[in-house]
Structure formats: structure tokens, C-alpha cells
Symmetry: C2
DNA sequence: GATCTGGATATTATATACAAAATCGAAACG
DNA sequence: CGTTTCGATTTTGTATATAATATCCAGATC
């Protein structure tokens, strides 16, 4: 057979991770999509983007494949790629799954997180509240993303982390819209208060149910704007 | 996570789907991995496979990117690809997530499936039982995969379908092992009986819990063989 | 003997060239 | 007028060529 050299990275932790051009391009385009520079449904013109990014077609096209597998774009053979446009039904289906997964995240986090990690979450929460009180929307939003990602990490389940991140990426813009009105935002914040309280007391079932509700509410909040 | 494109498809339903070389290669290699021809942890020698498949490097490498995004292989920059080898912890994490998702699938299927669809599942189940009774393992296994995929489809949630398929693909060989001994197999079958009974009476919570248990048991059954 | 160094060899990454489709528009036709 | 057909143009798909990087092994050094 082939050589048994393990994929258990023999790399040094500090070794500078060499990033291939492909990965850079993928990240770059991913950001363009997530930030809405490339609008949903819009065609991706290879030549334009190509010259803009200053790379050749090979790494660029490879990165398109990656993004397609991630569900951010759609490639139609011989007819080019476009930024994936989510139908309301698809958005709903993602939120339905995400809500359910966050339920699991909540339960596992309560079981598995260390005291220090919980403390870290409390701190993060406090910073979010500060931004809320100063109505500083963008930084709040960023911390919110981090809040959910970190909680996922506390579940100790790498698959959960990966899938949550993927769905989160696909929904990023939409979730941002979810805090559109002052009332919506206030509701979201109070749900976060509940989460923190449940996490602090390691009440898995309660955290689980709050998180599910939180996402379901996001759907309510977002629904109209589709 | 592959996604049959279906964007604003202006395609005729009957239009022959033109498959790009890339996709063919991806499917081909995916099968090689899933069927274990390419063993976990083994290095993927580009030149060898290349000549074997009779395609040039461009589509081949693109397909590797796809498979990497699907989590079936690992690409280390400048150092080649290898078939992803799952640690017991990773397998456990996938089964934990899958169990939870199948719980959701069970509940939603009971709410949303049509009578005809449920009938179809009963029929599928009957065929599985026949193969079980004749101890025809491979066909049983295939129908089992189909059973779970179809149930996912009955949830009416495309995201759920996609993610379930992805995890299923990653775990395919392992799940096969799950029915290794006669007792294991018998247990799995009796769990299926329960599922069918719950589905027939549209008892969402019950189906949900049986399905979760089914997967957790798979973990128990498989654990030693890692 | 063990580790280090340098360069030959093999492998991967990127760029470019070429081929095959699809798109678009103008002219021909009904 | 509207539809169809054909070809020029653009865009995509695949192959190959070149550059960059890693791997491996022999010889040098301690």
C-alpha cells in the first residue's frame, strides 16, 4: 500500500502555515460574497474577477469548486457560476436545522465546558451588551457571530463546529438583517441574557431551548425582508 | 457538501444533464474512497490516479478540491492529498450530530410526509426485512442507506437532506461495519421495526427518539472496531 | 555513529494555450 | 412582424508547459 505517514500533523504548532494561492482566492471571494459585494443571483464573470484578483484561471477555478461545495455559489456546466441565491424556503430550512443544532450545542456546552471557558463567554457577553447600549451595530454583530462560534466550540464536537460555521456563513447577511429594528435587537439581546444565565448555571436543557427559540425568532424577524 | 445545482433552473426537465469531466472524476474518486479502494490515511498519488482515470490534471485537481470541501480527503499544501482518516473522536462527533439530526428528521417526517410517501417507506422496509431474513448483507445495507436518505427527504428540509447525505458519505464504511455481528444486525433490524411503527402512526416524538437511539447504538456497535 | 548540508529528483502549484460550448445578433424565411 | 438559422464572438472546459516547492540521498562535519 501507500506510505502510512499519518495525517496527524507532524507540523510544528508555530510553523508558518503556507497558504496556497487557491486558498487565498477562496477566502477572498468568500468574503466578497458574504459581505454582499457580489450579490446573490449575480453572475460571476471569470475574466473580470480574474484580472481584479491578479491570479490565473487555474487557482481561481479551483476556488470556485470549493465555494460551490460550501454552498455559496452554484456552477452550471458550461454556463458559468453565480452567487447562490437562497429562496425563503431554503433560508427557512437552514434556520430550522441551525436551531436544532444550536440546541445540541447548548446542551453539550453545559456538560463539557470548563469553568474558565464559561467565564470567557460571560465576558464576551458583557462586551456585547456594551455595544448594544451604545447602539454600535456592526461590532455587536461581529461579537454575536463570535459568541455563537465559541459556544459551538465549547460543545467539544468538531463536526458541530464545522457544520454550524458553514450554515452561519451561508446565512451571514440574513442574520445581520435579523437585528434590523430596535425591537428585534432588544429581543435578541434579552434572549442572550437568558442564554448566559442558563450557561452560568450549566442548565443544559434550558440553554438548549433558549438557543432554539433564539433562532426561530431570527426567522420571524427576517421573514418579511425576503 | 455537494448540492445538485437547481438554481433558477431554466433547464428543461428532460434536458440531458451535461456532466462535466470534473464531476465525473469527483464521483469516481468519491466512490473509490467510500468503497475503501483508497484506504483512509493513504496518500493520493496524482500521477498514478491520473493515468488510471485517463484525464488531465486540471479536472482532476479541481475534483480534489471538491472532495476536500466535502471532508473526504485532506490536502496539505505542496505535500499532496490523502484520504481523510477519521479518529475515533471524529467518528463519535459525527454520530452525535447525525443522531441529533435524525431526531429532527423523524419528527418532521411524521408531520410532513404524505400518506403515499409513508406507504413507500413501509414497502422499502419490507424489502429490507426480506434481505435480512435471507442474510443478504450487501443489498440490505444499500436499502438501509436508501431508507435513511428517503426519510430525510420526507422531512421536506433540503438542508437536512444535504447535511445528512454528507455525514452519511463520510461514515459509510463505518456504518457498514456497524452491522458486523449477527446480534448487532438483529438489534438494528428491531430498531427499524420500531421506526416504521412510529412512522405509520405519525408519532413524531417517538420516531425521533428511536432514530436517535438507533444512531447511538451504531456508535456502541462500531466503537471496538476502530 | 549521528546530525547536518546541498543538490538531484520527484511532486505540486500556477500560468498559458488550445478546444469545445454557449451566447448573441443579423440576415433569411415564413 | 415574428421566428429560425447560421456564424462571429465570448465564455467555459481541458490539456499541457513552466515555475516553485518538497523529498530523498550522498557526502561532509562533528
Amino acid at each position: 500500500m501507500t506510505d502510512p505517514d499519518m495525517q496527524t500533523d507532524t507540523d510544528h504548532p508555530l510553523a508558518v502555515r503556507k497558504e496556497t494561492l487557491h486558498d487565498q482566492v477562496a477566502s477572498r471571494v468568500r468574503d466578497l460574497i458574504i459581505e454582499g459585494v457580489l450579490e446573490p443571483g449575480s453572475r460571476i464573470d471569470e475574466t473580470t474577477l480574474l484580472s481584479q484578483l491578479g491570479v490565473s484561471r487555474t487557482p481561481f477555478r479551483e476556488s470556485l469548486r470549493t465555494l460551490a461545495a460550501e454552498g455559496l455559489i452554484v456552477i452550471r456546466p458550461s454556463r458559468g457560476s453565480q452567487v447562490r441565491k437562497l429562496s425563503p424556503l431554503e433560508v427557512h430550512s437552514m434556520l430550522e436545522v441551525l436551531a436544532h443544532l444550536e440546541g445540541l450545542i447548548g446542551r453539550l456546552a453545559c456538560e463539557r465546558a470548563s469553568d474558565a471557558e464559561i467565564k470567557g463567554m460571560l465576558d464576551l457577553h458583557r462586551r456585547m451588551i456594551a455595544f448594544y447600549e451604545s447602539r454600535n451595530r456592526l461590532p455587536y454583530y461581529k461579537l454575536n457571530q463570535e459568541f455563537h462560534s465559541r459556544l459551538a466550540a465549547l460543545s467539544g464536537n468538531p463536526t458541530l463546529v464545522e457544520i454550524q460555521a458553514n450554515i452561519q456563513a451561508r446565512l451571514k447577511r440574513i442574520r445581520f438583517m435579523g437585528n434590523a429594528t430596535p425591537e428585534h435587537w432588544a429581543n435578541a439581546v434579552s434572549e442572550h441574557e437568558e442564554m448566559i444565565s442558563a450557561l452560568k448555571s450549566r442548565d443544559g436543557p434550558r440553554l438548549s431551548s433558549v438557543m432554539e427559540r433564539h433562532l426561530v425568532n431570527t426567522w420571524e424577524r427576517v421573514q418579511d425582508s425576503l
